[in-house]
């Protein structure tokens, strides 16, 4: 590493937990645990046992049955599989779907693709704090509604939706409920046995597991099934074929087990960092919180300021690594859809900075970031012509 960086982009991806890395290293260098778990020979059975252990660990974190879990390459695939798979499975009953414009692209763009295929979409805007009013969901449900997709924790703002209540409305209306929980699993307690959720997407690299492995929870019950996206070998009861990546799956399992033990301590740590960060910057002129102080995952803080452009702000803040908008759209510079759907102006959305932090973040990192943020904002403001001449 050539320069000191302060990494405050945990919502984009986290480093791998040391225990998880150790396990992967052990499996990757093992001469005996590398086999294909579909094979029935002794080496294959050892690999299969590792997969079974991981399924147990993840099921334990989510309080579900290991049989309800399918391994995927990440939340993008899980979202696609859940939404396309369930919509296609149920399309003879109806083709109406409901979601929000503040969803991650891996939900929004999937739904848009279904729209092009003849599905009908209702997009429910959040209120200005980013939350969905349950009444508006209730009013949107129709006879032909098949699926509602609402994320648990927003990746840009950290806003937490009331999954229980929204799910219950779906259940009452016999509509499938999909939850993109990429930003929630391993970070907030989730009890799927007690939650009216049918499909839930997750990805390991948001909670200290490796990138490239995720899972989809399917609450298999009458009417809740998916059509596969891929075809191939018979793996995973044909719902998602392909050789199972055993070390990755084991790593996800290990990350889940670790998380289960740490969620309360992690949350306490994040709350204290968030408070320090907020105290440090809140008095900046024209600063505005993007989110809901009452219903937020404390590992994300998103703020806008007047009269500063986001890309320049990002560069001026180096070596602090933060995001404008979500990491996936850092490369195309359109103002954040999440923030615009919360009623923010284009300019406010463009100046938004997402601070996200995690287990390795120290108070000194926050202090460093606060200093850099304030300095950068002040410098760019001085550089900008006034709003009207």
């Amino acid at each position: 590493m050539s320069e000191r960086t302060v990494y405050l982009d945990y919502a984009a991806t986290t480093p791998v937990a040391p225990k998880v890395a150790e396990l992967m290293t052990r499996l990757l260098t093992s001469g005996s645990d590398f086999a294909n778990p579909s094979a029935v020979h002794p080496a294959g059975r050892r690999a299969q046992a590792l997969v079974a252990t991981a399924a147990g660990q993840l099921a334990d974190l989510l309080n579900c049955d290991p049989q309800q879990l399918i391994w995927t390459s990440g939340a993008t695939e899980s979202n696609n599989l859940a939404i396309i798979g369930a919509a296609r499975y149920r399309q003879k009953r109806g083709r109406h779907l409901v979601s929000m414009p503040s969803e991650h692209k891996a939900v929004r763009d999937v739904l848009r693709a279904l729209e092009r295929d003849g599905f009908e979409l209702t997009w429910l805007a959040p209120d200005e704090s980013g939350r969905l009013n349950p009444e508006s969901l209730k009013n949107a449900l129709r006879e032909d509604t098949q699926l509602v997709s609402i994320m648990a924790v927003n990746n840009e703002t950290g806003v937490v939706q009331d999954i229980e209540q929204l799910g219950q409305l779906c259940r009452d209306a016999d509509v499938l409920f999909h939850v993109d929980a990429a930003q929630a699993v391993g970070k907030l307690p989730l009890d799927l046995a007690a939650m009216p959720v049918d499909l839930l997407s997750l990805t390991a690299h948001k909670f200290y597991g490796p990138k490239g492995i995720g899972a989809l929870y399917i609450n298999e019950r009458p009417g809740c099934h998916i059509e596969p996206l891929f075809f191939g070998g018979g793996q995973q009861r044909r719902r998602r074929p392909g050789t199972l990546p055993v070390p990755m799956i084991a790593a996800l399992g290990c990350a889940a087990e670790l998380a289960k033990g740490r969620i309360p301590a992690d949350l306490k740590h994040l709350e204290s960092l968030r408070d320090q960060l907020w105290q440090g910057i809140r008095n900046l002129d024209g600063l505005r919180l993007n989110g809901d102080p009452e219903h937020s995952f404390p590992g994300i803080l998103n703020v806008s300021v007047d009269d500063v452009e986001g890309e320049s702000l990002l560069l001026a803040m180096e070596p602090v690594c933060v995001a404008t908008g979500s990491a996936c759209n850092s490369q195309d510079r359109e103002p954040s859809m999440v923030l615009r759907s919360m009623g923010r102006s284009d300019a406010a959305a463009q100046s938004a900075i997402r601070f996200s932090y995690g287990r390795q973040t120290r108070s000194a990192d926050i202090e460093f970031a606060v200093g850099h943020y304030i300095q950068a904002v002040e410098r760019l403001r001085a550089l900008a012509p006034g709003q009207a001449a």
Binding site: E309, E311, S312, L315, A382, L383, A384, P385, A389
Partner: protein
């Protein structure tokens, strides 16, 4: 790392040292709000020679770097040369990606109208 860096080292250097940011009292000025960017330029003359240039800009790092580069370049030169300012050749020398052409052309427009 440089191949992945969206900013050339020239852009980084100019963005880090915006010595010509600011305003000038007296002299000419021009301001453009277009294409989602805002640029203001100030110029004082010493006869037909450009004495000083300052800018203010709201936009991406490329725009700020280009504005700074323009000011550094043209101080001390005859005002008549402003008409020859060419955004495209500045973009090339600073390594600014072509997608940004629209925005850097706003700077070109501002420079040219400063010269007239």
């Amino acid at each position: 790392m440089s191949e992945n860096d969206p900013y050339s080292s020239a852009v980084r250097r100019l963005f880090a040292d915006t010595a010509h940011a600011g305003r000038l009292a007296g002299g000419r000025s021009v301001r453009l709000d277009r294409q989602g960017v805002r640029i203001a330029l100030w110029m004082t003359l010493d006869g037909t020679r450009i004495e000083a240039l300052r800018y203010q800009a709201w936009g991406c790092p490329h725009l700020i770097a280009a504005s700074e580069a323009f000011c550094r370049d043209y101080e001390g030169r005859p005002v008549s040369e402003l008409g020859g300012f060419n955004a495209q050749s500045l973009m090339q020398s600073l390594g600014i990606p072509v997608e940004k052409t629209g925005r850097i052309l706003v700077l070109e427009d501002a420079v040219r109208s400063l010269g007239t």
